[in-house]
Every structure is written in structure tokens, then in C-alpha cells.
Amino acid sequence: MAKKTTLTSLKKQEGIMGYLFASPWILGIILFGAFPFLASLYISFTSYDMIQAPRFIGFANYRILFTNDDIFWLSLGNTLYHVLIAVPLGMVVGILLALLLNNKVKGMSIYRTLFYLPNVVSIVALSLLWLWLFQPSFGIINEVLSPIYKLFKLEPLGWYSDKSLSKFTLILMGLWTSGGSMIIYLAQMQDIPTSLYESAEIDGAGFLKKTIYITLPLMTPSIFFNFIMGLIGGFQVFTLAYIVTNGGPGRSTYYYAYYLYDQMMTDRNMGMASAMAWILLVIILVITLFALKLNKYVVYLGEEN
């Protein structure tokens, strides 16, 4: 009996120690995660100019956003366009890069580092660099393309200063950071047993067949992971538009997060900005849950018993 009591107290002690060790993290998530999270939910039901105390106004912010705010819908539309094109395109580029770098060529680690490098470059510096490259009148990209323009008697593309191309230009700029997802794809590619490729080769499969029937199916967990992360990041697109286009021309790159930022910092309308943040959370949550439902149909999770 005495032994049992000692064991219980030891377990208790161990539990306390565990919580103590985890306490910085627990406190961190409560103070810097849960509190702002719940506070923003409350603020979304208030009128709050960041000077005077928040005043409860019920669902007014949500009602206005849905029924009397064209810019809300415009920014949401711009963001959806970005997500629909940037996420799949980013995945394709990431996979292609991973396939390219999954070879035993001399100096491969240098190439991998080079492709990953843009991910550690400040996005502001990166934006300024692209701003110069895509500059419609003096940029190097239009200079390189000038023989094609001349050949087909075309006007040089306006890139980010052309309303119809601006969103796509920002997507192209964003592709430069595909090295981040490439690393994840590459890690999973290298986990694929070589025996599978060897037996496929014996059966006469070439590079294309091996990629389609072995590599890609076995990479679906990482593809799915990058898809979810891409969705979340895609809905929060902001920095490139803020630096390169200022949301223009004609609000064509005025994304949801940009409008949210303006509501908060320019119009000092923290209640409305919080409501926008919660609407965005719900949108991302619904799409992610839907994607997770598809998980079992599209992701290879190993052979069933």
C-alpha cells in the first residue's frame, strides 16, 4: 500500500515538473495566442478606434462588410484569384524544382542552397528587386522580351502597372520563393525506396512513367501539406502588393489582408478589421476542412493491412 502511495506521489511530482517545464510555452500561447485571438473576436463586435474604449455594436461590422462594402468583395475577389492561381502554380514549380534537384550531380547541394536562398531574403528587398526587373519601360524583362514584341508587333507588357496583368505579375514574383516547398518535396522524394524504381526499371518504365506512377503518388502527403500551407498563406497575401503596387492599379491588387490593414491603420477601424480577420479565419477553416475531407481520396497513406 505504502509503495502504491509513493508511486502516486512520484507521478504527481513528475506531472508538476512536466507542467513547470512546459509553462513558458503554455503561458506564451495563452498570453500571445489565446488572449489576442479571443480579444479580436470581442473587438469584432465593437466600434473601436484605438483611442477610446471599444463600444459593443453587435453584428454591425459583419452586416456592413457583407451588405454595404464593395471594397470588401473586391478585395476578397482579388485574393481568391491569387489563391486559385498562385497555389497550384507554386506547387507545380516546387515539384518541378524538386525533381530537377533530386539527381546525383556534382555540386547538387550548392544548387539546392541557391534555390532555397530566396526564402531567407527579406521580402521587402525581394519586392524592390522584382519592381526593377518588371519595370514596364526600363525593366530587364521587357528588354529581354523586346525581340518577341517586335516580331509579333506587340506593345510591351505593362506587368504590374497594367490592371489586367498586375495580379499575375505578383504571382510570378512570388514564385521565386518556391524553394521553400521544394525542400519538403525533396525530403519526401528521397524517402521513396529505390527498390520501387529498380523494379519499375526492370519492367521497362522510363523517367516519365516512374514519376507519374511512383514519385508523385508517394509524394502526395507532402503535396497535400504544401497545398494547405499555400492556401493559408495565399489568403494572407499582402507584402508584395503593399510594396510593389500599393494595391493598384485601380485596386486590382488590393487584397483582403491589405484592406484589413487599411481598416486598422488608416481608418482606425479596429472593430471592422477584427471582423474581417474572423471572416478570413472562417473562409480558410472551411476550405481547409473541405480539403482534409478529400485527404483520404488523394493522399497515399501506405498500404492497408
Binding site: S47, D49, M50, I51, Q52, I57, A60, N61, I64, N68, D69, D70, W132, Q135, P136, S137, F138, S161, N246, G247, G248, P249, G250, R251, Y254, D262, M265, T266, D267, R268, N269, M270, G271, M272
Partner: protein, 435 residues
């Protein structure tokens, strides 16, 4: 050995702790001042000297200064106000003092000035009524005008003289401006503009600035958007038609070239005349530009023109974050009095390159500086933009998409103004529904 090592470490630690405390500062009331002279900026050292001079001049108050760049400052002060972590004193924009005063985050300066019996009290006669009005809420002063910005017409005297003109020929009306500017336009063999006389969208020239000169405004007295008169559309058309002999593409390429150069088109001598503020003068001085230039009044409409320009100065405010006692408040006020004194206002003008708000200080400072003297003259005609609670950035974020769409030829002037007005009205109704 172990004991000796422990002893040495302890001695070093005690030494460091003692060295970190500043005996001279104990017992002083500590206040902090946020300004726009960050570390690394040319104005950092002079600003630090101004603060140190105050600290050395008395033994009751210790001021610490924190400088942020202009672009970072607004987010920092905004967040500080909402989180009640404001500095004792800070700079802000004078046109929206009302928002902070009504939010009870500013100390009432009228009370402090009225109760001050010292001989270095702030002399309100030394500041322009037009600026003091903006800093007043419910008949009480809640801020002091700090700087006094004005817009004026800068002209490149070298290029003007090269073409056989003199300062006597400078335009005073809109039609004269157009005729005169056309003498300086230049295009290269490929049809690219290499120099332009004037463009009413460059520099600090704004639609509301041109509008004010015609006696019109964006908003009426009740802060409702106007914009729906034919005269409003005429002004917009005048702006667009000014350089109508060039295609939009030519003008756009020229504008992009200016942006890429990263320097003001006037400072790079690509534009002969430009509307800008006193900041441009400082930029030209900092860039060691070698050309001769001057400053004059912005031309006004030919008929019933009003001599007015956009002001937009900074205010200096004492923040009440709910935790500051009377002693702290009086200490901050003492530093405010120091900053608003004639001598320090001159020092601040030298430090920042700004025109300050103190009238006689600036008259004395600009006496031997013809450009600044001319700019100071324009301050008397400067007018600040009003604060619109439902659209604080009515002239910026809100208006720019409409303005750019018009300049790009996507909409007519009438349609642009109609759409903009509807947009402001919607913002107003949404604001009223939540406030």
C-alpha cells in the same frame, strides 16, 4: 582555485551593476520624447544635442529622446496610444488633434499655459491662428503646432535663363503657367520625354490643392462630400489636359523614369517647375545640387483664384496615458516650453530642415536664406486639410484609386467624381452605423 574564480566573477558582476547606475540621474523626473530623427539620420545628432542641452540646463527633469523614421512613426504612435504606452511628448499630425483630444489621450495645454507663472511660458502670439485652431478642441488647446509646412512653386532658374527668360516672367495664373511651361518640354528622337516644364500631378501638387485655389472643397461644413459640381470636374480636366500634347504612355514612361531614379524629378532637373514643400529644399541641399533654383507662389486660377496652399504641419502633444501624475505632467510641460522657445525652434529648424511654427524664430532664421524665406511667406497662405472621421485618409488611400483611374483615361471627370462621392457617402453611412 574554484573559490578565487567565484570571487572574481562576483567582483566583476558587482562592478558592472554599479557602473550601470547613473548617480546623477537619480531623483530626476524621467520623461520621454518621440521624434523623427532616428539613429543614423543627419538630424539625429543635432536633436540629441537639443535634448542634452535641456537636460544640462536644469536638475529636475531628465528627458530621453527616441527617434523613428517618418514612415515608421505613425504606426508606433498609433499603437502606443491604443495600448496606453505613449511617450510623455510626441509629434503627430495637426489636422487630427481633435480625434485624440476627444479620446482623452492628450493633456489640456490651455490649463497648463494659463496656470504657468514662469517667464518662459509659451507665447501663443508667436504662433499662427490658423494652426492653433486645428490644435483646439472644445475651446481648449490640446497640442502645439510644431512645424509649419507650406507648398510653393519651385523653379529651376538655370533652365529658365537658358531659354532667355528671367524671374520676372514667372507665371502667376494657371493659363500663364501652361504657356510658360511649354517652353521647356523636350522629347528625344524616340519620342520619349526627357524634360517637362510642369505637370500638375507631380511633387506635392494635389487635386484638393488645386480645388482650394478655385474656392471649392472636397467636403462641406457638415463634412459631407461635395465633388458634384461642374467646377469640380473642370479642375480635374484642367489637371489632365495640362500636358495633353503628350500621350498617356509618354507621360507614364517619364513618370516611371522619375520613380526609378529614386530622386525628386525637380532635383534631377527633369522637371523645370514643381509644386513641393520645404522638404524638397532640404533634399536638394542634402544632394549638393549645383543648379540655381527659386521658390514662388503657386499660380492661381485666372478668375476668382484664391491664394492658398496645402499646409500639413506636425503638432507636438503631451500624452495622458492615465498613469501620469501632476509632477510628470509639469515636467513634460517644462520640456514642451523649452522646445517651443524661440532659440530652440531655430535649432530644430537647423536640425530637421523644417520650417518651424514659431513666427519670429523663423523670420530670424530665414533672414539670410532666400529659399526658406520665400517658403515661409507661403506659410501665411497655407491651409491644413480637415479631419474627416469616417475617412481619415480622404486625400490619400481613399481618393488615389479614383484619381489614378481618371488620369489613366478609364473614366471621365464627371464619372470619377460621381463614383468618388458615392464612395465617400457609403463610408460615411457605414461609419455612422457603427459610431
Amino acid at each position: 582555485m574554484k573559490k578565487i574564480f567565484t570571487l572574481i566573477v562576483n567582483v566583476i558582476l558587482i562592478f558592472i551593476l554599479v557602473a550601470c547606475t547613473n548617480g546623477e540621474d537619480s531623483g530626476k523626473i524621467k520623461i520621454n520624447f518621440w521624434h523623427m530623427s532616428p539613429v543614423g539620420s543627419p538630424s539625429y545628432s543635432p536633436m540629441r544635442r537639443i535634448i542634452n542641452n535641456y537636460n544640462n540646463s536644469q536638475d529636475k527633469v531628465l528627458v530621453t529622446g527616441t527617434g523613428f523614421s517618418f514612415w515608421d512613426y505613425w504606426d508606433k504612435i498609433g499603437i502606443a496610444i491604443s495600448s496606453k504606452t505613449t511617450p510623455s511628448l510626441g509629434l503627430s499630425t495637426i489636422d487630427d488633434v481633435e480625434a485624440r483630444a476627444s479620446g482623452k489621450v492628450l493633456f489640456n495645454l490651455t490649463e497648463l499655459i494659463d496656470n504657468d507663472t514662469s517667464d518662459n511660458n509659451i507665447d501663443l502670439d508667436e504662433f499662427r491662428d490658423s494652426q492653433l485652431e486645428f490644435a483646439t478642441y472644445n475651446d481648449n488647446l490640446y497640442a502645439m503646432p510644431f512645424s509649419a509646412t507650406a507648398r510653393a512653386l519651385y523653379y529651376n532658374l538655370d533652365i529658365i535663363e537658358e531659354k532667355g527668360f528671367s524671374e520676372e516672367d514667372l507665371p502667376t495664373t494657371w493659363s500663364e503657367l501652361k504657356t510658360f511651361a511649354k517652353n521647356f518640354d523636350e522629347v528625344d528622337s524616340q519620342g520619349r520625354i526627357t524634360r517637362i516644364g510642369f505637370d500638375p500631378t507631380y511633387g506635392n501638387a494635389t487635386y484638393h490643392g488645386w480645388l482650394w485655389q478655385t474656392g471649392l472643397d472636397f467636403f462641406d461644413e457638415d463634412k459631407n462630400p461635395t465633388l458634384n459640381t461642374p467646377k469640380h470636374a473642370e479642375v480635374l480636366d484642367w489637371i489632365k489636359d495640362f500636358n495633353s500634347e503628350f500621350s498617356r504612355n509618354q507621360l507614364k514612361t517619364f513618370g516611371e523614369g522619375n520613380e526609378l531614379l529614386g530622386i525628386n524629378p525637380f532635383a534631377s532637373e527633369r522637371v523645370v517647375m514643381i509644386v513641393d514643400d520645404d522638404g524638397l529644399n532640404q533634399k536638394i541641399v542634402d544632394a549638393n545640387a549645383s543648379f540655381n533654383y527659386g521658390v514662388t507662389t503657386i499660380p492661381i486660377p485666372d478668375e476668382d483664384g484664391v491664394n492658398v496652399n496645402w499646409g500639413s504641419g506636425f503638432s507636438i502633444e503631451m500624452y495622458d496615458n492615465g498613469k501620469r501624475n501632476e509632477e510628470h505632467k509639469l515636467a513634460a510641460f517644462d520640456f514642451l516650453k523649452y522646445l517651443m522657445s524661440k532659440e530652440v525652434q531655430i535649432e530644430l529648424a537647423i536640425a530637421n530642415g523644417w520650417l518651424m511654427s514659431h513666427i519670429s524664430a523663423m523670420e530670424e532664421y530665414t533672414e539670410d536664406k532666400p529659399i526658406l524665406k520665400a517658403l515661409l511667406k507661403e506659410v501665411d497662405n497655407a491651409r491644413d486639410k480637415i479631419y474627416i472621421p469616417y475617412a481619415p485618409s480622404w486625400h490619400g488611400n481613399d481618393w488615389q484609386p479614383f484619381y489614378n483611374a481618371f488620369l489613366d483615361g478609364e473614366k471621365t471627370a464627371v464619372k470619377t467624381l460621381e463614383d468618388a462621392r458615392a464612395y465617400y457617402l457609403r463610408k460615411k453611412s457605414n461609419y455612422e452605423a457603427t459610431h
